[in-house]
């Protein structure tokens, strides 16, 4: 025992431990990066999804035109008649980061294409996230728990899902910034140091520049401070840490044009301001309290605090009601009132990520961590220091948000990793005590060596009031072996999930042929490339907003609406055009200078994310603006079914979306047997006719169909009669030639 003690205190052992720590962290970073590369290795190094295409385009703009032009960028190739003040409506952190990396690499004479930087940014930052989580957990417990947490977050699928290579989204760097800001906050609070508080504010500023989720930090830190005050744990350290963070951080966040005066004016930021005021008050009262040691005076002052606090809350409510302070924005409000978005803002509810999370998703994304998570929270309660309060609050809030919205699983994952690491390292601390045989667990050597010095062993047992000590080796081995197996299974699970669920670029669709070989369906890029090469440079493309960024990024053409859904009416206009009859749609198309209309159709391939399945949302969004002209009810059969076959309603059949999707589709099949593989419906024998649009391009598997908007008729007729006239002429010719009716449909 004493020789072990001496060994642990020895300088060389300490060096070895340090070396081990570095090696473990590097290994974790390696694992984090390499487990995110499935999609790059399997497919190619491209940007996935929808949003990253805009980020990529903005990054390219930044590289090409420099920072100042990027800052003042007015983009006239999106939201066609309106344009978008891009510099003032985006979070520039991501683009500036990749731009900086690009220039640094060039300076080091390693000229790397900006695309590769964008693709590999998320894996690189996931390594940094592991490091930040290590530091954060180290503040909570000890280094061994830190290493475990780093290992967990390195491969946890809940985080990988948003940070695989090619997923060039804001979250790629935001989670690193989130964890690092929290680490700095804990550090500032522990030391009571304004320096760490200022660093925390600087990283908070970076976080504000990077992601709209900074509001989470803006509310977590004040909540922590507030709870500490309520627990009677106010200390000058809290004052120093919080005020230095708030003063610098708020001023910093206002430098981002997209945020602007929001920290003063919007309800999301009022908690921080309120707690700032409260801390001034508490600080002052504490100061006075130590000048006058009278109990009655103390109670008087306490009452004063409550009165002022209540008063300021009332003023806040008054300001909010009177409109000086903006109320909660819809996106945040829908987190509290979960039914709100569906009723009032269909555009928020229409995004699949904004749905509540199902139970299996938690196990799928976090495997064993999800059941270690409550245990870790419990252990935080049993060693309740200031920083543990933070983990508890963070855990509770993030669990709630993750339960409300699927995409917020992302903010839950770090705290789950931290808390699970605390729980697991407590277990290992006890069961891996001195006379353990070989330590089989991940990061076990350091765990093995660390626990000797720490008094933590006693903390757990304090509740049980029994002496810690596992006397039998067998029980130790059993527990440690069980947890090692869990850890191995965890690695297997994470790798499996990453490989199978989260590593498919949505730009190319992969399918398997019967012999097991892979077949790539590349219709998107085929169509976008067609647009890029075969249309005039200023052609305007109308599509549903989902594809706006991809068209802008890949086809490089002007779009009407895109994924930045800032103008609901404009989107509703597109929805109205899509869901109206030709006569109604044509003026809309003309008024918006639309040259091409693009629809996604998955009926031939069984690709379910197509526009017919999204059609109801277009109708709902259009109905929100023009309730008299577009009615959702008209698209359902009298029995309330949404059908595309013979039973479809006339409104459905006459909508240009339906016509564009199924135009000429029956010509692929023997007569009368046209089949829609997504809706599993047999289509009517006679396909729809289009008079205002010409089919311009249809991709190989009919996924993307592009139509050209016809010009006005030369003779001033409306398109329907012109088309009928043409058809009549051809019909008469054909009867002379004695052709069948089936041919006619193809020619028209």
């Amino acid at each position: 025992m004493s020789s072990m003690e001496a060994l642990l205190k020895d300088e060389s052992t300490r060096n070895i431990r340090r070396l081990l720590k570095v090696v473990i962290l590097i290994t974790i970073a390696g694992a984090a990066v390499s487990s995110r590369l499935f999609s790059v290795i399997r497919f190619e190094s491209i940007i996935h999804e929808f949003d990253p295409w805009f980020n990529f385009r903005a990054s390219k703009y930044l590289i090409k035109n420099g920072f100042y032009n990027f800052w003042d960028w007015f983009d006239d190739r999106t939201w066609h008649p309106l344009g978008r003040v891009t510099g003032g409506t985006l979070y520039p952190g991501l683009m500036v980061t990749s731009g900086a990396i690009y220039h640094i690499l060039r300076m080091l004479s390693m000229p790397v294409d900006i695309r590769n930087i964008c693709v590999l940014l998320a894996p690189a930052f996931s390594g940094l996230t592991a490091l930040a989580t290590y530091l954060f957990t180290k503040e909570m417990k000890d280094e061994s728990a830190g290493l475990l947490a780093a290992a967990f977050i390195g491969i946890a699928p809940g985080y990988i899902s948003r940070s695989v290579a090619g997923s060039y989204d804001n979250e790629a760097i935001a989670i690193f910034l989130l964890m690092f800001t929290f680490y700095l906050w804990i550090k500032a609070l522990k030391d009571g140091s304004a320096f760490w508080g200022a660093l925390c504010a600087l990283f908070y500023f970076y976080m504000v520049a990077a992601w709209g989720g900074y509001v989470f930090i803006t509310n977590m830190i004040p909540l922590h401070a507030f709870v500490l005050v309520l627990m009677g744990r106010y200390s000058p350290r809290l004052y120093v840490a919080y005020t230095s963070w708030f003063a610098l951080g708020t001023l910093g966040s206002m430098q981002i044009p997209f945020v602007g005066f929001l920290p003063i004016r919007s309800s999301e930021h009022m908690a921080a301001l309120g707690v700032f005021g409260l801390l001034q008050l508490v600080g002052f009262v504490e100061f006075v309290r130590y000048q006058v040691p009278s109990r009655q005076f103390k109670t008087l002052l306490k009452a004063l605090i409550f009165i002022v606090f209540a008063l300021s809350s009332a003023v806040l409510v008054l300001l909010t009601v009177s409109g000086v302070i903006a109320p909660w924005s819809g996106r945040f409000y829908s987190l509290w009132d979960t039914g709100y978005a569906k009723i009032h803002i269909p555009i928020i509810a229409s995004v699949s990520e904004h749905q509540p999370t199902a139970w299996p998703a938690f196990f799928f994304d976090l495997e064993m961590l999800i059941w270690l998570f409550p245990a870790g929270i419990y252990m935080c309660f049993s060693t309740l220091q200031d920083q543990h309060v933070f983990v508890i609050i963070y855990g509770i809030m993030a669990s709630y948000f993750a339960g409300v919205m699927v995409r917020l699983m992302l903010t839950l994952t770090p705290v789950v990793c931290v808390s699970a690491a605390i729980a697991l390292s407590n277990i290992l601390d006890i069961y891996l005590s001195v006379k353990t045989p070989a330590a089989p667990a991940v990061g076990a050597p350091s765990v093995d060596e660390r626990k000797e010095k720490k008094p933590r062993v006693n903390i757990l047992s304090a509740g049980k009031d029994s002496i810690v000590g596992i006397y039998s080796k067998a029980s130790r081995i059993a527990v440690v072996a069980a947890f090692s197996i869990y850890l191995f299974v965890f690695v297997l699970h994470c790798t499996w999930v990453t490989s199978n669920a989260y590593s498919s670029p949505s730009v190319v669709l992969a399918s398997r042929l019967p012999d097991g070989s892979q077949h790539i369906i590349d219709d998107y890029r085929e169509a976008y490339y067609w647009l890029r090469k075969n249309t005039p440079d200023d052609a305007k493309i109308m599509s549903w907003w989902d594809y706006g960024y991809q068209i802008g990024g890949m086809a490089d053409r002007t779009t009407l609406v895109d994924n930045n859904t800032w103008n609901n009416t404009h989107i509703a206009t597109v929805g109205k055009a899509m869901s109206s009859r030709e006569e109604v749609a044509y003026p809309i198309l003309r008024q918006h200078d639309v040259d091409y209309v693009l629809v996604i159709f998955g009926g031939l391939l069984g690709y379910s994310g197509d526009d017919i399945n999204k059609f109801l949302w277009m109708i709902r969004i259009a109905e929100g603006v023009w309730p008299d002209e577009v009615k959702e009810r008209d698209f359902f059969t009298p029995r309330g079914e949404y059908r595309v076959d013979d039973g479809a309603t006339d409104t459905m059949k006459n909508s240009i979306m339906y016509k564009m999707s199924y135009y000429n589709y029956q010509s692929l099949f023997p007569a009368g047997q046209a089949q829609d593989r997504v809706r599993n419906a047999k289509l009517p024998a006679v396909g729809p006719t289009l008079s205002i649009l010409d089919e311009a391009f249809t991709s190989e598997n009919w996924i993307v169909r592009i139509y050209k908007v016809k010009d006005l008729d030369n003779l001033g007729r409306d398109h329907a009669s012109a088309a009928a006239f043409d058809a009549g002429k051809k019909k008469s010719k054909r009867t002379k030639a004695g052709r069948g009716a089936q041919r006619k449909l193809r020619v028209v």
Binding site: D191, G192, A194, F195, G197, R237, A247, L251, Q280, F297
Partner: protein
């Protein structure tokens, strides 16, 4: 904070005695219903027990409060048209105030136990660092 109490007890012994034995009526803070005497007591304790350097900091704090109030009053009277300019000026004052207050807390010998890792010199360096950042942000924000 016990150290603080010790410090004040060197000057005002009766008060310290009162705090330790709460049952007996206190000699000069006896009646909380008399705010003037309480205020006088506070002032008295403050002027006696505060070190010179801390008083200097407090003077600066008072100056900042006056500046902030003046700016706010001007904003109320003349309107907030260049709102960013108002915010920059006002935030600079508020930020500088809280940073100085932090410095005051950190350098107060009574708080030594709270700030184990922050020496007064370190506290001053932190103060300079934070103030530089604050003023960079403010000058950028005022345009």
């Amino acid at each position: 904070m016990p150290p603080k109490k010790n410090l004040s007890s060197t000057q005002t012994a009766p008060a310290a005695a009162a705090s330790t034995t709460s049952a007996t009526p206190t000699p000069h803070n006896a009646s909380p219903s008399d705010p003037l005497s309480i205020l006088g007591g506070i002032l008295n304790t403050y002027s006696q027990s505060t070190p010179q350097r801390t008083k200097l900091i407090d003077a600066f704090l008072g100056f900042l409060v006056v500046t902030g109030v003046l700016q706010f009053a001007y904003c109320v009277v003349a309107g907030n048209y260049p709102f960013n300019a108002f915010l920059a000026g006002f935030c600079a004052t508020v930020g500088q105030f809280v940073l100085t207050a932090s410095l005051r807390m950190q350098s107060d010998p009574a708080n030594k136990s709270e700030f184990a890792s922050v020496s007064p010199e370190r506290a001053f360096a932190d103060f300079v660092f934070c103030s530089v950042i604050l003023h960079l942000f403010c000058t950028n924000f005022i345009n």
